[in-house]
Assembly symmetry: C2
Homo-oligomer: 279 residues x 2
Amino acid sequence: MTLDCELRDADEPLLHADDMAALRGDGVFETILVRRGRALNLEAHLKRLAQSAAMLELPEQNAQEWRDAVAMAVQRWGDRREGVLRLVYSRGREYAGSAVTAYVLVSPLNQRVHQARSSGVTVISLERGYASDLKEYAPWLLLGAKTLSYAVNMAAIRYAARNGADDVIFVSSDGYVLEGPRSTVMILRGRELVTPPVDYGVLPGTTQRAVFDMADEHGFQASYAPLTVVDLLNADGAWLVSSVALGARITSVNGIRMPEPKLALDVARLIDRAVEKAD
Amino acid sequence: MTLDCELRDADEPLLHADDMAALRGDGVFETILVRRGRALNLEAHLKRLAQSAAMLELPEQNAQEWRDAVAMAVQRWGDRREGVLRLVYSRGREYAGSAVTAYVLVSPLNQRVHQARSSGVTVISLERGYASDLKEYAPWLLLGAKTLSYAVNMAAIRYAARNGADDVIFVSSDGYVLEGPRSTVMILRGRELVTPPVDYGVLPGTTQRAVFDMADEHGFQASYAPLTVVDLLNADGAWLVSSVALGARITSVNGIRMPEPKLALDVARLIDRAVEKAD
């Protein structure tokens, strides 16, 4: 489905060979869970998409056009199964001037997501190479923008798989936990949920944010604070939070087992309610 | 032109909406100058493409198929004008299994290239965020692979433009000159050409390498050594070396002017001969 609401067959080519999405990863995206015929937490995703686009100096898009395209795609997908909705927005063809590329795409959930939800994930921590204070003075590094340039994220996940782990936690060069390649890190201490600060150059998590907004109602506190890998291991629970897998409990870090938290079910319920109620 | 030598109209869509090139920048590429009906320095580019692909764990491609596709594309382009040839190789569609995407694409040179060749470039130095010793222990960061994830490179060039400069020199977090977002840095000291070491995580330059291989014949020495921005300013000349612009002389760094080198013409001739004779 293109942003002008033209429905396309996913098996027909859509993009030109010189689209900057493909040639340079020069664009932004969002991934959204479709459940019971709704795109969950859509407004937060549209807001972040617009923020990412601004960081890449892409022209501002009309949010209503995205909403319309999403509504049509979701209706077409139906309400009988979950789906993964992608919003993709690139600079367009190489010499296209101001003609950007924008489309939405729905696909089935893959097996990994079901596995992460039900059994949790084992993770390894990997150096991201950046210092935690880099974001403020180096806007050209696009830290905190969700760009189409995800080759490093994918390589980190493959590296983890080769080493027997399901996922990755990136750590800054000065030793702080940053984020997963496709998730936000969230830990529990007592009844306090803690996530690394956004000014460390991590992506602002849409699902984590919805959870924080509703934490109080469920009897949890929520805060942003610097975390180390040791903090993770000493926590009363740790999760990779994301739009599609929602809360994937971390069952081990660098081979060290993390026992099932007492409040695992309460946190799972909070995450679920938060994304259902977010819009 | 796809790798199975099927000729396509550039104005017809080629890629699927879920190609990993577009969704994740998950692939590799090369950019090659076409001149007088030849793809210059092709073998070096094919070698680097294969190295990049290996770093991304993409299946090995048959080099002869690339050569055949390039030959057809170049023949079609003709010998009357220069062209920019792109080799693009991605992981293929999201759930495609082992079916990768591979194609070549020829376009005209843009005005920027002609300008860089004739008048040189003004540059600013920008922090890349990585330490110079990161490459050896963090293979998941894909340092030295030419991936389709170039959003940061493009953002750095836009940042430079906003600040009145034509191009960028990336500097490591420990203060060493790395590379341009689309070029290799090369300086001249006396008659010695110097480039930063590849183990600093920079892309191995195909054009710079061809120049180094032929330096001796032209009465130059060539070596790899750590460089700082001060070394650039104190040099007897500095260039951004790349496959299409070839040698773009650096005329200022961070607003500080660099006078025209005495040996500018000799270096230009060396670069030109090197890429013409490379294969």
